[in-house]
Every structure is written in C-alpha cells, then in structure tokens.
C-alpha cells in the first residue's frame, strides 16, 4: 500500500513539473466542451432565403410575413427573376428560394390549390431537410388559417378537425438542441484522453528514459507498479469528470436528471477498460510518439465514430453495427445520455452496466498480464 502511494506521489510530482501535460489535462475538457457545446451544432437557426414575389398582393405579402415572423428565415434578397435566384444559390448566399406565383391570391380567393415553389441548395442534405420541414410547417399553418377565415366569411363551419393534427411533444430535449445531446457524452471522450493517451505515454516515457528498468530491479511488485501508475490517471479522469459536469450543469443548463452516484460508478467501470487499453498500448509502443499515434488512430477514431458519439449507430451498415458492440464507449455513452437526459434508473441500464464491468475486468486483467510479462 505504501509502495503504491509512493509511486502515486511521484507521478503527481512529475505531472506538476510538466506544464504542457497539466494544461492538456485541464484545458482539453474545457476546449472540448466549447467545441461540442457551441461549434458542433447541427441545429439550423437561420435559413438564408431569397423570395421572388411574382404576385405582389395582400395574401402574398401576408405569407412572406409568416416566414419572417417564424424566426428561422432571414430574407436576404427580394428577387424579380430566376437568374438572380440561381446566382444566389450557386454562390451559397442563400440556402433556399421561395417563389410565389402570379395567381397566388386569385387561386386562394377562388378556392383553387395555390402552388408555392421552393428551390433548395441540397448540397447539405441535413440542412435542406430541416429547412424543408420549416417551410412545410409554415405553409400548412397558413393554409389552415385560410380555411378558418373562409369559414368565418361564408358562415359555414368548415372544420379542420377532420384532418389529423399531430400534437407533438418532444421529451428530454424539447428544443431538439444538438448541444443537449453532445455535451453529456463528452465525458466519455475526456476519460479516453486522460486514461488512454496520458497513461500509456507516462509508462512509455519511463521505458524511454530507462527508469522503468530501474524500477524492475527494485522490490516493487508488478501489481504495485501497475496500480501506482493507474491511480493518478483515474484521479485526474474523475477531476475532469467533475469539471465537465459542473460546466454542463451551471453553464449549459443541462441538469443531471438521474443518479449522480450511478453516473460516477458507470464512469469507474468504463475507466477499467480504458486503463486496460492504455496499459496495452504501453506494452506495444517503444516511444511516446508511437503510443500517441496508435492511441489517436487506433483507439480514439474508431471509438468516436463507432460509439454513437457522433453518428447514430442505427444508420450504420450491419457490419459496422456489429463492431460497435465491441466498443466500451458505446455502452458508456448510452448510460451517460440515459442518466443525464432521461433520468433513467440503474434498473433500466443493467445490461450496459454489466457489459462495461465484464469488458473492463477482462481488458484490464489481460493487459496487466501482458505488461507483467513484458517487464521481464
């Protein structure tokens, strides 16, 4: 126990002397929070729009007003020919163009269907479909109002109740903000960095400068060495977790709906796997650069892409979906999102928790064995 503490103290002293690493430990979480909290935003708040009002009537202006009032559309140009519209779309000045045809008001007054043309820059499919949704919403709303008004005028009750009106309630993330979805899972990334990259580099560094050899000839037992090396990075990881959660709750206003302690417990289970992977990396890398590169491309990339962190697993081809089962981050992120956003209790997350536990123990033990073998 004393020997382990001795190594832990030494490790912290060394960290203290390494300003770059120290900054990395505390700035990386903040930076990632800012990146994923603000920059990585898939919400579409402003649709740059061009409008060609061929009708120029009360009704057409009324419709344009609806677009403006919705808050989503910013009308950058009132065009009067196709050439202008084509130009704006090609140059990327506007995402969509709305064209109100000549007989718009006349059609409405005569109870004919009034067509409305919308042209999109479809190069970003995701954005386009969101904007399309907005336009359809506004158009349907407008049409309903016309029906209501006309019923008032004629005195006949034209009910729109007959048509199906979905009443949509979005739970857990009512504003559908990307941030709410992203920020909780950042903890997974932060733990990846502190435990895998930093820890494997710390061990490889000792091998590089020759102190590992010195430690092997001392009475330090391999398990003491492993624990002494792991514990500091677990502590750092948890400090980072608390940091991220504080910012998440108090800055981004994303409350933790579920049990905070279960969250910490799940984080601990996840860390077992990542420490194991870090330990494994340290046995296959000869230099710190090597450890860094392997961690970046061999671990971080597949973890980020295949864990559901960035892309929905359901959209992946079957083959990749199977691979995701092997990635511990997948289960951790499921737990993070469920506990933080939905307030899910432990009983809903038993399979994920068990898998994390089993993976963690297996990976850590296998790596520790390999590490022990490599020592001699």
């Amino acid at each position: 126990m004393k020997t382990i503490l001795n190594i832990v103290i030494k490790e912290f002293l060394q960290l203290k002397r390494d300003p770059i690493l120290l900054r990395l430990v505390f700035l990386a979480p903040i930076l990632q929070l800012l990146l994923f909290g603000y920059a990585a935003n898939m919400d579409l708040n402003t649709v740059h729009t061009a409008i060609w009002d061929q009708d120029r009537t009360l009704d057409s202006r009324d419709l344009i007003e609806r677009f403006q009032e919705s808050g989503y559309f910013e009308i950058d140009r009132y065009a009067d020919n196709y050439k202008q519209i084509t130009n704006d779309i090609n140059k990327g000045k506007v995402l969509c163009a709305i064209i109100i045809p000549h007989d718009f008001e006349k059609d409405i007054k005569t109870n004919h269907p009034a067509p409305l043309q919308a042209i999109f820059d479809g190069s970003d499919g995701n954005k386009t479909s969101i904007a399309l949704g907005y336009i359809q919403g506004i158009a349907v709303n407008y049409a309903n109002n016309i029906l209501l008004k006309s019923s008032d005028k004629t005195g006949r009750k034209i009910s729109i109740a007959g048509s199906i009106q979905p009443e949509i309630r979005v739970w857990y993330n009512p504003d559908l903000k990307t941030r709410v979805f992203m920020v909780p899972s950042i903890m997974g990334l932060i733990l990846l960095i502190t435990t895998i990259i930093l820890m494997s580099m710390a061990i490889v560094k000792e091998r590089e400068i020759g102190t590992l050899e010195q430690l092997i000839v001392t009475p330090i037992k391999p398990y003491q060495l492993i624990l002494g090396k792991l514990i500091p990075f677990v502590i750092l990881g948890f400090v980072d977790i608390l940091l991220v959660q504080t910012v998440m709750v108090f800055w981004f206003g994303i409350a933790i709906r579920g049990s905070f302690f279960f969250l910490l417990f799940a984080s601990f289970l996840f860390v077992l796997s990542t420490l194991g992977i870090g330990l494994f990396l340290s046995t296959i890398s000869k230099t710190q650069q090597q450890a860094m590169m392997v961690a970046q491309f061999g671990i971080m990339m597949p973890f980020i892409y295949l864990s559901g962190f960035a892309f929905p697993i359901e959209n992946m081809p079957k083959f990749f979906q199977y691979i995701t089962y092997l990635i511990p981050l997948r289960y951790y992120i499921t737990i993070l999102r469920a506990v933080i956003l939905k307030g899910a209790p432990f009983s809903d997350l038993i399979p994920e928790t068990l898998i994390l536990l089993i993976m963690g123990v297996l990976i850590l033990f296998a790596s520790a064995r390999r590490f022990k073998k490599r020592l001699s």
Binding site: T3, T211, E213, T218, P219, I220
Partner: protein, 321 residues
Amino acid sequence: MSLSSQKGNMNSIEVKNLTKKFGSFTAVDGISFNVKEGEIFGFLGANGAGKSTAIRILCGIIEPTSGDAIVGGYSVMNEPDKVKLNIGYMSQKFSLYNDLTVEENINFFGGVYGLIKNKLEDRKKWVLKVAYLEGKEKLLTKDLPGGIKQRLALAIAVIHEPKIVFLDEPTGGVDPISRRNFWELINELSHKGITVFVTTHYLDEAEYCNSITLINAGKIIASGTSKELKTKYLTNTMLEVECDRVVEALDIFSKQDWVEETSIFGNYIHISVEDENSARSLAEKTLKENNIKIIRMDKIVPTLEDVFIYLLEKDTKKNVK
C-alpha cells in the same frame, strides 16, 4: 564480526551452470563463476556477448533456463524478491527521474526500499554528501552536471545499503575526470565491504577491478586479475615499433606471415610475434627494404586491450570452425 575479516573468504555471488535460452538462441551458455565479498568484479565482453542477460538473471529480473545463482545468500531461481531487496542496480541509462528534484528522487527510491523517517534522513544526508549536493537538494535532477548525476545515481542505488551493487556500464558519456572520481567512489564502497559487480567498455577502468571475467558468445573465455590475464593468456611477444611513415609500415607489417596481430597506438605500432629475436631481425630487414627508418623497437608488457583483442579473435575463430 567485521566485514573486513570476511573479505576474501566468503563468496558474495556464486554462479553455477547458468544458462538462458531465448527460443533457439542461447544467450548465456552454462557459465559458472564466483565473486568474493567486497571485491570489484569486472564483467567484460562485446555487445551481445550475454553480459546484460547475465546481469538481469543475477538481479532477479529474469529466470534462468537452467542452473542457478546465489546472490547475497538468496537463490535467483527461488527467491528473486529477496535478491532484489539485497542488491543495488545502476544501469547505463541514467536511472533517476530528471523531472524530480534531488530530494524527491532520494525520497522516492528510499521509499521503494522501505526506508522511513530517521533512517531515510540519515541515508539522505549520506547520499547528498557523496554526490557533493549538500544544500542543493531542491535542484532539479536534469540541471545537474553529468558527473554529479552519475554519483547521485550510484549513491541512490545503494541507499538501502545492499551488500552487492550491479553497475551496468555506469560511466558511459562521462568526462575522464568525473570517471576517475566515480571510480574512487566505487573503491570506497568496496572498502566498506560492498561487492561491486561492474561491466564496462573502458579497458582502463577494468584495471581498477580486483578480478576480471571475459565473456564471449555466452561463454566465459578468460578470468583472473589484470596481471594474470596479461601473462597467462598472451604467450606471444609484443613489440612496440617507432618508425617513419607509420601508416605505410603498418600496412607492410600486416602483410607479413610472421606477424600475428598489428595495431597502431599513436605514433607507434604494436606487433604480436611468436619469437622475439627472429622477429626483430625480420622487422629491421623488411622496413629497410622499403626505406623506412626504425627509430626504436622495444618488447612491451601487453595492455588489457591487446589481451582482449587477442582472446576475442581466437575465440571467434574457434566458434566459426
């Protein structure tokens, strides 16, 4: 019971038929030797000769394939942990933490060996004194001069007062004066009764050793004191020739069948010959034919380097056959 009374009587290390195989490669091939308590034991050999493997076995890091060694009274086969407690080790790589201060290094390694409070403070004082670092314990280790670092590393390697210390090429990359000081420290340790097991590439350092063992291709090919090695193994005569146009002369000598070895030492040439008298006349005759003037030609005592080159080449030729 004082240590000095035991010196020369008891074996500190006893190696019996030690063999280590890595797959089909035999790194250490059935070596046996003893190291007496308190002596400085030089373990020499080319890179890859099996030196490092042997040291690693003796330090309890790796298990031998067969055979055994008793180090400080404990078997490396059965009690490697006890062996580790009773030895110190310093490797050719600098073995302290550069990013820790002098004191933090002492505390860490002292702690590793279970030194606490008073004992640790006592030993800390001793380490600082030996490394000339009294009052400088807050300095970062990386800022120390090379020679001082080396002394600090050695002092820390024996912080727990082991009976045996292993030094694996401890003076690599250190200036000559620091090297000399370092060897004085090694001598001090030896006088205190600590057995020093040292490997080195510098043959002038080997002269400081009480006993030298030469290993090649996993086998011991010679052992004894420096004097014994020079007289026992090298039966040839060494002639030192001072003459004009040294390079040309060396070239001529190396083509003669009566010359076994040639080597150049500054402005002189060393030639190894079987019979002194015939060689003298042959040398004079040959050089005269080439218009090279001999200034001086003397029989000399061979250096350790002469002996080792001779022994290694002989052994390598034998192995090839």
